[in-house]
Subunit: 438 residues, 2 copies
Amino acid sequence: MNIVLLSGGSGKRLWPLSNDVRSKQFIKIFKSKGSEYESMVQRVYHQIREVDKDAMVTIATSKAQVSAIHNQLGDHVGICVEPCRKDTFPAIALVTSYLHDIKNMSEEEVVIVCPVDPYVENNYFEELRELEKLVEREDSNLVLMGIEPTYPSEKYGYIIPIEKGKVSRVTEFKEKPDAVKAEEYISQGALWNGGVFAYKIGYVLKKAHELIEFTDYNDLYSKYDTLNKISFDYAVVEKEEKIQVMRFMGQWKDLGTWNTITEAMEEKIVGNVMVNETCENVHIINELDIPMLCMGLQDVVISASPDGILVSDKEQSSYIKPYVDQIDQQIMFAEKSWGIYRVLDVEEESLIIKVTLKPGEKMNYHSHNRRDEIWAIISGKGRTFVDGMEQSVQAGDVVTMQAGSRHMIIADTELKVIEVQLGREISIYDKQKFVPEK
Amino acid sequence: MNIVLLSGGSGKRLWPLSNDVRSKQFIKIFKSKGSEYESMVQRVYHQIREVDKDAMVTIATSKAQVSAIHNQLGDHVGICVEPCRKDTFPAIALVTSYLHDIKNMSEEEVVIVCPVDPYVENNYFEELRELEKLVEREDSNLVLMGIEPTYPSEKYGYIIPIEKGKVSRVTEFKEKPDAVKAEEYISQGALWNGGVFAYKIGYVLKKAHELIEFTDYNDLYSKYDTLNKISFDYAVVEKEEKIQVMRFMGQWKDLGTWNTITEAMEEKIVGNVMVNETCENVHIINELDIPMLCMGLQDVVISASPDGILVSDKEQSSYIKPYVDQIDQQIMFAEKSWGIYRVLDVEEESLIIKVTLKPGEKMNYHSHNRRDEIWAIISGKGRTFVDGMEQSVQAGDVVTMQAGSRHMIIADTELKVIEVQLGREISIYDKQKFVPEK
């Protein structure tokens, strides 16, 4: 199979575990057969591999996620980077031309586009093979997966099939309805739109050229920021006449909110948490290094990270987004391919950061115009380069850098560093990168 | 009036805002007429002053609290320090002999001993004058304040008076009963024992000499650690025949648990907290510098500090103590007379601390045997002394100290310092103090 995973999302609905640099698909809260926690993207990727070890998987995502994807899935996964965010039609057009022009796939090749975050069993991915076969049979240009509804949700679009069989042509699409309408659709045999699209490369390229003027992948990439934001559903799916839907009746959960994600957690408590016996139906994730004590709570989700603390009734947690939009909080924590950084203290004219570099990793060679920095090594061994001068460092060593001085650090073992930033305008944008002098 | 405030308590029932160095009476959560938050001890102290501006107030407490008391009440409040904790009889004996031998009060002087944490209006302190008068009239050796019960509490001892009038002789004392017994006592006119004792200095000195062999205050102080732990109620009150109780019918709350303390908070939210409109009867104190979002909660108290996070149903919060006893958490935060320290990061072989010194304040001149230290100044101006060498410092300066080297820092303005501690056995006990060389 040739699967494209759309990995988007600012992840505000899972605040404070997700933020602008850590989307929800990277949060490690699922326990698989082994004992390690895995993230949504890891779970889905492993499931695809189990069903089809030769599957070609390409992740369509933004630049901001590339480092997290490599960190979680390794260096060999295919990634198609969107230069900026433009909704699903431009994204699918870009990844399709990427597969055609860069990966040299033929126009006859079938692609299955899938969200990165369905919480499903392996049978879901086995069903994707059926979609592939339906596309190959050429009865239709597009085949969707329709999820058998379990309740009249107002969160999903509905697909109205002509027949009630496993595979059917589609009469109509309905945008998110109210509960009464949803009930009505379901009584007519409607299905949820699960965001899965199967098509031949040539079909989507044709649609893309109809709507966008471009020559090839590189050209499309270079003008990506000028494209209109438009969804694939609106631009293509709802206008297509030769379209089929395949009914999926297995377990399917859309883990977009705390309420749904907690249903999928095998362990109710993650982190340093004490819960007394009067708590019921409580899920807690504490990523802070301080203890949490919970008593007498019912139907509550609690999530604490260096970015903030959420305490919410589970049902209410679905309405989190507008509140999180109001929180203008510096990102306090990030997991990168090279390691971890965490903000320890924020003052008007200083910022204290703890950086943990993996063995062999390094920072870019860079400088700042408007801040001085101090590194205090607290564990490990490595080498610093300041204005071209190399120095071996280990726990207890201190290196000071004036504004303008070029610097980097290489970890020979795991290396932990306290970085003190000092200046009036401390900003992540005040960074100039250089090629090391040697 | 001559009032002794007993300021004890490890404060575990108000975890995580109270800890071994910050007892509950020092948490600033009360808004008074002004706009500043004040603590229990500040509130009580100001109330006494309002009722009797010439009142002599002495606080009987442990060494650990002296700095916090001066910090909150200023340098002029009287403090009688207990060398160690020995329950209320030794504490009252010590402070009484302190008033007699050190403050030269006569044996005829009336002393009113009061807990430091009743949440009351000024009329409570006005009533203390009546206690004083009753003692002076010499109808009895001891006069107690009995609180008119509002419900059959199992938390308090009960005083059974002979008559139902304002002042009565006492028939009997009852230890904390069950609710059924409590109901029975109340129907007989019983009062809660509010922990207030009024007596003449000579009376308690006589009782003290009967039970403890000592000559004077200094002698008692020096043998304090050998005394038995015993309560004043048990050692004196319950054995006394010439005893009266005065009924207090005003507002009185014992703010010993989160449940009761939230009832006294004028503002339901303290700190960086967002609460949606579906929350009801929720009290939140967030002392962390990260945002908190609460949704759909009812009857819950949340309290977050650098020591930990409590999320509890209000009623359940009364049962916190055994859980907190299980938490073996380093103290992450302390407010001292010289300023504030906060632990930012804890690793196996390092500890990162942020120290904020008030202008003019300083650390002791000291050294450590088993750790190196680094100071990075992040704001303000001051002077460091390392092995006798003075150096002016300001933001951006770094000072390194090897194990064994003697050091101190003086703040000329408010001074903020990141202290990096490095070593295998970092402990607060690894500290040797010295007199500065100059």
